[in-house]
Subunit: 348 residues, 2 copies
Amino acid sequence: MLENKNQERTSLEQLGEFGLINHLTKDFPINLKSTIKGIGDDAAVLNFKDKRTVVTNDLLVEGVHFDLSYMPLKHLGYKSVVVNLSDIYAMNAKASQILVSIAVSNRFPLEALEELYEGIALACNFYKVDLAGGDTTSSTKGMLISVTAMGEVREENIAYRNGAKPNDLLVVTGDLGGAYMGLQVLEREKEVFKVNPNSQPDLEPYSYIVERQLKPEARKDMVVLLKDLQVKPTSMIDISDGLSSEILHLCKQSQVGCKLFEDKIPLDPTVISACEEFKMDSTLVALSGGEDYELLFTIDQKDFDKIKGNPNLTVIGHMTDESFGANLITRGESQIPLTAQGWNSFSG
Amino acid sequence: MLENKNQERTSLEQLGEFGLINHLTKDFPINLKSTIKGIGDDAAVLNFKDKRTVVTNDLLVEGVHFDLSYMPLKHLGYKSVVVNLSDIYAMNAKASQILVSIAVSNRFPLEALEELYEGIALACNFYKVDLAGGDTTSSTKGMLISVTAMGEVREENIAYRNGAKPNDLLVVTGDLGGAYMGLQVLEREKEVFKVNPNSQPDLEPYSYIVERQLKPEARKDMVVLLKDLQVKPTSMIDISDGLSSEILHLCKQSQVGCKLFEDKIPLDPTVISACEEFKMDSTLVALSGGEDYELLFTIDQKDFDKIKGNPNLTVIGHMTDESFGANLITRGESQIPLTAQGWNSFSG
């Protein structure tokens, strides 16, 4: 759980609640002008001037969203920030502040939380957001992380889920299925380790997909790119639960249908080879895998020339009249209705 | 756990994550002009115009912050909102939106969550705030509630913790110690119930203090009152961890000392009699009990006439030079340094 197994372990009781949050957050700088007051009062005070405020909150629960047997705490801290920032970017907004609250059992020493906060600090620095508040408390079992992310955006630039029109092009950033296949590799290695604790896994061939799972990035760069290209998405969402479920969200809220072309779905070669190895269908993995944190958006056809040829952006289909429904057009040109196979954390 | 033990139980698996949050939040109205977009997109969109945004987040963990054996879920929902709004009011701000995320194990049926959200809806309606977002997910054990509260305030009206000056008067709203003594009564009844499950507790004599514990209110009314009286606190904090610890926060951040007069601490007669019954010192209960969610603030002496005689406001001391330290002046006129005996959730 700790990177350096020999370091000292300081129990959380020694610090108490007030000492703990002060200790963990003492090195976090406040960089943004919009952060008037960060940690240290009853609430953070922010100044978004004439821009709109966007805000989102997510919980990450040990044993449900992460497994500390293969998730280093620094990565977990980083990822817990990233998954929330992704929601801010999905509004076409600039992320600015986060609040992080954690509940942990006494099994975690101080040094474990320091690693977690190192990862949080890395993400804050990389994405240029301020840690502006939060809370630490105890739990009766395991670790739980709550992240609230905030951002700012001009009214006219907000990309909601409900603005797609028939004939709009459906575009996705990056490639899909990597995070899910990375998880399959890690779960397999965990089983091997259980049988033989001396086994040394060789994750090198899987480094891309394992990193997609353990250290995903949010597509801040794509929000900047779209602005530079002067493209405003007519609708946008981030891919946390799998392409299929996100397309259905856009269709439902925009009251449109969709044609998604199987042969257009961007897949990394590593994902394809891992799917072969695990005997999984790569299209199904892209549709239902989730946790890729890419952006999925629609644009007016007239904007196609602006994005054409950009290696980060792939047109995977187009929106249709609502009566058509949301359908996958397979390589064999048959038409299959998309279903929400998004990850359901209450089952299994 | 459920008020009506005979009603149907619907398992959470039947609904899944997406269905669940939609179901629970479908009847929540959006009332405020500042809520541009509530639940249903990647993030909420808010418009605070030329005001500052204040934001705070808290976690409530089953077995640490609440005990469902005597805390009805509707009350829990209400209280989880109230404790966060209290932080917004402590900035002298107007609370406007909340995001509520919950993690629950499969032991909770849908109907339990409906009760929880009934309490959340009651609080939203009473305090005139919009539920603007949130998330539901599963936990491996128990229930955890994360609430993010937001508010708005004009820059010049913000009351930080760090503005108190020597000779400022120290003022508290309402009375103290009730929530803690209510907890003592409930814990005692729980022990009695364990021995004899047929016992019928008579909580009538304790109704005030039990209500202070189970259904606390945040002092929105006091923020309005201070505005009406044209009093701007020089510093302010809410009393969640006990008077002593909150005074020390104000002193430390304002770099002042304090004289707190024991005979001025406002105590309800029910609290005094419960302290006698439980053989507890009522001053110690007020100093260390916590969860009263009253406001503690300092005002310039020239504002004294404006608050004088108001039954909701009690002057309990005054600030001093930092070198004096923070001290309790007892009824016997001896001087005792205040210590942070605020509730430490990592011990015990």
